[in-house]
Amino acid sequence: MAELLFDGPDWDFDTLRRTTEAIEQIAREDLGLDVYPNQIEIISTEQMLDAYSATGMPLMYRHWSFGKQFIHHERLYSKGAQGLAYEIVINSDPCICYCLEENTMPMQALVIAHAAFGHNHFFKSNHLFRQWTDARGILDYLDYARNFLSQCEERHGPARVEHTLDAAHALMNASVFRHRRPAQPSLRAEAERAERRIEEDERAAHYLWSRIEAEHRPQDHETGATQRRHALGLPEENLIYFLERHSPVLEPWQRQVLRIVRNLAQYFYPQRQTQVMNEGCACFVHFHILNKLHEQGRIGDGAMLEILHSHSSVLFQPGYDHPGYSGINPYALGFAMMRDVQRICETPEAEDREWFPAIAGCGDWRGVLKDAWANYRDESFIQQFLSPKVMRDLRLFALRDAEKEEAMKVTAIHDAGGYHALRDTLARSYDLSNRAPDIEVVDADLAGDRVLRLRHVLRNEVPLDPRERDATLACLRELWGYEVEIDEMVG
C-alpha cells in the first residue's frame, strides 16, 4: 500500500504540493489531460466575496455594479443564506485557481482535481475557448482596461465614465460575434491605417478635376439604401461593435470603453455555451482522479467519504416539483452523461449499440471523452451523446407551454417514443441563440434622419420584456445620440 497523502482535515502548503503532484500524475498519465500551468492561490472568505463581485476575475475595472454584487453576496453570506463557492477558476495561462482557506484538506484535493485539472483541461482544449478567447493575454488586457478606465475617470470625470459603462453593460449580452471573428487590429494599427488613407486621399486629389463640369463626374447620388447599408456593414449582430464604429456622437475614449466591454462579453461567451460540458468535465475528472488515489491507498477512507459527500451534494438534481428545484443542474447532467459515455464504451448493452454504434464497446472512453471535450458545446454534445439511459435515470420529460393553448402539454417523456424528441428539446434549450433574444442593427441613415433601426427576430413568438427593453433602448440612445427604433419580426 502506498503512503497516505494527507491525514486529517488540516492542510499546509507541503501537503497541498504533494497532493497536487499525485493528482497531476494521474491527470497526465492516466487521463492524458493537457493543461495550462496551474497557479493555485489560497484566499480568505472576504477575498472570495471580492472575486465574486468582479465576475470572478482577479482584476477588474471599477464600476458601481460590482459594488452592488459584493454587498448582495456579503449580505446573503453573512445571513447564512448562501455558502461560498469552494473555488473559482479563471481561463487564463497560467490557469489561476482560487481555493478557499477554510476548505479542509480533502476538500482542497477535490477542488484542485476539479478546477486545476478538470476545468483547466477544458479551457485549454475546447474549440470555443481556443477560437474565441485569449488565455495568455486576458490578465494583461484586464490590467490595461482597468488603468485605461481610471485614466478616463481622471480626465473626463467619473460620472461620464460611469454613464458610458452603464450603457455598454446594458448591451453586453447583445454584443458578441456569434459566427465570425473579424480581424482585431490594434488601436495603433488602426490609426496607422487611417493615416495612410488620408495620405492616399491627399495624393489622389487633383485640383484640376474639381474644376471640371459636374456632368463629367461619375454620378454618386445613386448610393441607395442598399449601398449605404453595405458601407456600414449592416446587418450587424454585435450592437456595441456597430456603435463603436459608427456612432456619430461618441468620443474616442468612449469608443475604447465600448471596445473593452465588448471584448469582455466575447471572452465570457464560450462559458455561457459550455456550462454543462465544463462542469461535467471537471466533475468527471475529479471523480476519476480521487477514486484512483483512493484505490491506490493514498487517500484514506474517511477523507474519501467527505469527498463523496460534497461530490454528491454538488451533483444533486432535485425533481421539478421539489422546493429546491431551479432548473436542470449542469453539474448533474454533464457528469451523468460523461459517466454514461464511459459505460457505453466499456460495457454497452443492445440499446447502446443501436444508439451509439461508433463508440459502443470501443473501450477507449478516454479518447471519446477527450474528443467530445475538445469539439462540442452543450447543445451539440447533448444532441450527440445524451443516451436513453441518462434520460431514464433523470426521468426527463418535455413540457410545452404555448400561449395559445389552454394548458401546458407534456410532449415527450423518457420512453421509446420520446427519446428523440426529448433529446432535441433539451439540446435546443441549451442553444444560446434560442435563449438570448436575436437582435441586430439593420439600418442607420447617417446622412438623413440618423435613426438607428434594430430588428428583433421573434422565435416561437417569445416577446422581449417591455420594461427592460425600454430601459435598454434608452441606453442605446445615449450611445447613438439620436433616435433608436426597434421592430419585431416573426422569424
Binding site: 497541498l16 504540493r17 497536487t20 496551474n38 497557479q39 493555485i40 492561490e41 489560497i42 484566499i43 480568505s44 477575498q47 466575496l49 471580492d50 463581485s53 468582479a54 471599477r62 458601481w64 455594479s65 459594488g67 452592488k68 459584493f70 454587498i71 449580505r75 497560467p94 482560487y98 482557506e101 467619473p158 453593460h169 449580452n173 447583445a174 438534481q317 421539478y320 416539483d321 422546493p323 436542470i328 426521468r395 426527463l396 418535455a398 413540457l399 410545452r400 407551454d401 404555448a402 400561449e403 394548458a407 401546458m408 407534456v410 417523456i413 428539446t425 434549450s429 435563449r435 438570448a436 433574444p437 421573434l458 416561437n460 413568438e461 417569445v462 416577446p463 420584456d465 427592460e468 435598454t472
Partner: protein, 438 residues
C-alpha cells in the same frame, strides 16, 4: 509546474472603490436614511452605521431579455413520476410556471435592496450637509488621538531611535568584563617596543624583551579583534509605544427654547448643531457628559427624549435657562474638574427686558468658566434673506452681539440651513492648531 500563492495576507478592501461608487449612485436614498436616523437617534450614539433600503428599480441593470410570459416555450424537466406523452397540465396560477419564489425569511421585500452603511460612510454623509472643511472632517471622523510615548528600550529598532548612551554603556561593560585591552595599554607597549628597537646593538636581555613585547602586542591585538569595541549585542534602541492621549472630561450643556414657535424643522437643525459639538467633544475628551436644559418661561433639566420631542407652552424667558445651567454646573460640574461647553439654540424670541438679564448671567458667571459658548438663532429660509445684516435683529440678538464683542469664547450665528451651522464653531475647531482655516 504548479505554483502556489498565499493570498490571504494581501491588502483587504479590494471592492471598496466599487462600494463607494455604488453609494454615490444611490446618494439620494442613503441621505434619506441618514437623515432619518439622525432624527431618530440620540446625540451620543450618532457614531454607528445604519441600514439603507433602496428600491430595486433605481439599481436596475437593464438588458434585452425575453419576457417571462408569452409565445411558445418548450423545456425539459427532471423527476417525472406520473406523466405520459400527451398529458395536459393546468398552468400554475402564478403563471410563471413552477413554484413562485417565496418571500425572504426575515421579511425583507424582494423589491428592496438593503445594505448596511458603515460608521465612516455614515459620518461622511452626515458631514456633507454641514459643509465642514476637510481637515475638520478628518479630525472628527478619526478615532482617538495617539501619541508615541517612551516605553523602555528594545534590541531592535530603526537607526534613528538608537539610544547612544545606553549602547555605549553596555559596550563598555562588556569590554571591561571581557578584559579588552585599552588603547592606552597597547600604546604604552608599542612605545616601549619602539624605544627598544631604537637601541643600537641591543644586548641579549633587550633582545629577549623585544621578542616578549612583540608577542604580547600580537596577543593583545588578537584579543582586541575578538572583543570588538562595539558589538551588535550592545545596541539598544529607545522604544516608543503609541498611547492614546490622556484626555480630560467635559460637560456639554444643550440649551434650547421649546416654546411653540420651535417646530420640527427648527429642532432638527438644533439637533445637528448639538451633534456636531458633541462629536467634537468626544474626540477631545475621554468622557463627555450631556446636560439638556429646555426652557419656555421656566427652565428645567430633562432627558434627551423629552428635550427633542415634547412640546411645552408658555412664554419665553431665556435667562431662566442660563440660571438653570449655572445651578447644574455649580452643583455637579465644578469648573476645576470639568471643561464646560455650552450650545444654545433658539429662534430669537425673548420676553421683553429679559435679554439684559441674559447678558448679565453670561458675563458675570457663565463665560468665565465656559471653554466655549455657541449660540445659534434658527430662522426661516425667508427670514434669512431679510436678516442679512448681523447688526440688526431681535433684542436677544443685539444683547448677545455685545457679549460676543467682549468675549472671544462666545460665538453666535444665524442658521437657516444645515450648511450655516459649522461657522459658529469655526474658532473652536481652529483652536486645535492643526486646523488652519475655517
Amino acid at each position: 509546474m504548479t505554483h502556489f500563492i498565499d493570498r490571504r495576507l494581501n491588502p483587504k478592501g479590494r471592492s471598496t472603490p466599487n462600494r463607494r461608487r455604488f453609494i454615490g449612485r444611490i446618494k439620494a436614498h442613503v441621505r434619506e436614511a441618514v437623515d432619518a436616523s439622525v432624527r431618530k437617534r440620540g446625540i451620543t450614539d450618532m457614531e454607528a452605521g445604519t441600514d439603507v433600503s433602496v428600491p430595486r428599480d433605481s439599481l436596475s441593470e437593464p438588458s434585452f431579455r425575453h419576457a417571462a410570459k408569452g409565445g411558445t416555450r418548450e423545456g425539459v424537466l427532471p423527476g417525472n413520476r406520473e406523466y405520459r406523452a400527451g398529458d395536459e397540465i393546468a398552468r400554475p396560477p402564478a403563471g410563471g410556471g413552477g413554484a413562485g419564489r417565496k418571500g425572504a425569511p426575515d421579511g425583507e421585500g424582494e423589491d428592496d435592496f438593503v445594505f448596511a452603511l458603515s460608521r465612516d460612510e455614515f459620518l461622511d454623509i452626515f458631514f456633507e450637509d454641514l459643509e465642514l472643511p476637510d481637515l475638520v472632517k478628518r479630525a472628527l471622523a478619526g478615532s482617538a488621538v495617539q501619541r508615541p510615548r517612551r516605553a523602555g528600550l528594545s534590541v531592535t529598532g530603526s537607526p534613528a531611535n538608537l539610544n547612544v548612551g545606553r549602547t555605549m554603556r553596555r559596550a563598555m561593560g562588556r569590554r571591561i568584563a571581557l578584559r579588552r585591552p585599552s588603547d592606552a595599554v597597547l600604546e604604552e607597549l608599542r612605545e616601549r617596543l619602539f624605544a627598544l628597537e631604537a637601541v643600537f646593538e641591543p644586548d641579549a636581555a633587550q633582545r629577549a624583551e623585544i621578542i616578549r613585547l612583540q608577542a604580547e602586542i600580537e596577543a593583545l591585538t588578537a584579543h582586541r579583534k575578538r572583543v570588538p569595541y562595539l558589538d551588535p549585542l550592545d545596541l539598544r534602541y529607545s522604544h516608543f509605544e503609541p498611547q492614546p492621549e490622556p484626555r480630560a472630561q467635559a460637560v456639554m450643556f444643550c440649551l434650547m427654547d421649546v416654546s411653540a414657535s420651535m417646530g420640527a424643522r427648527e429642532k432638527d437643525l438644533a439637533k445637528r448643531f448639538f451633534v456636531l459639538l458633541h462629536l467634537f467633544l468626544t474626540r477631545r475628551y475621554e468622557t463627555v457628559d450631556l446636560v439638556f436644559i429646555r426652557h419656555t418661561h421656566l427652565a428645567s433639566e430633562v432627558d434627551e427624549e423629552t428635550f427633542f420631542h415634547s412640546r411645552e407652552s408658555g412664554g419665553t424667558m431665556v435667562s431662566t435657562a442660563l440660571a438653570e445651567m449655572n445651578r447644574v454646573q455649580s452643583e455637579r460640574y465644578p469648573a476645576s474638574e470639568w471643561n464646560i461647553y455650552a450650545a444654545q439654540a433658539s429662534d430669537g424670541d425673548n420676553y421683553q427686558g429679559d435679554s439684559r438679564d441674559c447678558q448679565i448671567w453670561l458675563e458675570s458667571e457663565l463665560l468665565k468658566i465656559c471653554q466655549h459658548f455657541a449660540y445659534v438663532e434658527i430662522i426661516g429660509e425667508a427670514e434669512a434673506r431679510i436678516l442679512r445684516d448681523a447688526a440688526r435683529g431681535t433684542e436677544l440678538w443685539m444683547a448677545y452681539r455685545e457679549v460676543a464683542e467682549r468675549w472671544p469664547n462666545f460665538a453666535m450665528r444665524r442658521v437657516a440651513g444645515a450648511g450655516d451651522i459649522y461657522p459658529v464653531f469655526r474658532d473652536l475647531f481652529a483652536k486645535r492648531g492643526e486646523v488652519a482655516h475655517g
